[in-house]
Symmetry: C2
Subunit: 163 residues, 2 copies
């Protein structure tokens, strides 16, 4: 098992389990840290967990309307703020969209692979990338606080299927 393994997104896996354990991890973390995974926050997280794809805020709003409980933009943005600040979801800057965290509970500086064909998002646990960024920052005496790493291209599936 290498450092980049299990990116959860491009590979086949038991997604029902994936979803459940992510929700459970969120519950646990909230319990442990005195946070509240309220109805709206949980709802948004569940929507994000349906697929390993990024969803825009308005796409989430559409989904919420469709399941009979419409909401307004501030509601979903507030839920997203909560989820992102507590590490249950991440924003994909390149897409102005959000994805459920694939490694909830773990402390991590995430790096993503975005398939430009099918839209799948894989969240890597790449020590190597984090290290490289940290090293570069250090060399320039820059106090690193956050990093955005988003690689775009074709996932193995789509790469194979290209004409």
């Amino acid at each position: 098992m290498t450092e980049h393994s299990d990116p959860l997104g491009f590979t086949h896996h038991d997604h029902a389990h994936c979803r459940e354990s992510a929700l459970q991890a969120a519950e646990d973390t909230c319990a442990r840290e005195g946070l509240s995974l309220t109805k709206q926050r949980r709802r948004v997280l569940e929507l994000l967990l349906r697929k390993h794809k990024a969803m825009g805020a308005y796409e989430l709003l559409d989904a919420m309307r469709e399941d009979g409980q419409p909401a307004q933009p501030p509601t979903v943005y507030r839920a997203l703020d909560f989820l992102v600040s507590n590490g249950f979801a991440h924003k994909i800057e390149r897409l102005n969209a959000f994805v459920a965290c694939a490694h909830p509970g773990e402390r991590h500086k995430p790096a993503f692979l975005l398939c430009s064909d099918c839209g799948l998002v894989a969240e890597m646990r790449s020590q190597g990338i984090g290290e490289a960024v940290r090293a570069a920052a250090e060399e320039l005496d820059f106090a690193l606080e956050r990093m955005v790493v988003e690689a775009e291209g074709l996932c193995p599936q789509c790469r194979g299927a290209r004409a």
Copy 2:
């Protein structure tokens, strides 16, 4: 001279020269490749070159209005498309804003350091980061096409000045 040196942005330097040589590089590249650095494109590039900061499209529009030649959003977005596709400027996804390329002419996958205090942007020539991303992608059989690397934190100046 290390691989990360000369990030041009946090360090003191002859910025007038910096600006002139970037413009010159753009002229040269355009001449060589049969592109036209038209008035609007050049104008936007000059505005971006004023500082090593990212400017939003509407900030550019304001600046264009202020110097007496107002423009509409499509004008500035078209100029930005040209500059970005030809490597004279880059989009900073995290900020929804644009910055002049600090290494025009060179082929590069840029990585940025963004100071969250003063707003300066440094464009690194980090082979290391690019390599790490490439390696991670390869390991997952992902066909890398483009990468976004944006590190946020405090530049040396602001880091020193913190209370």
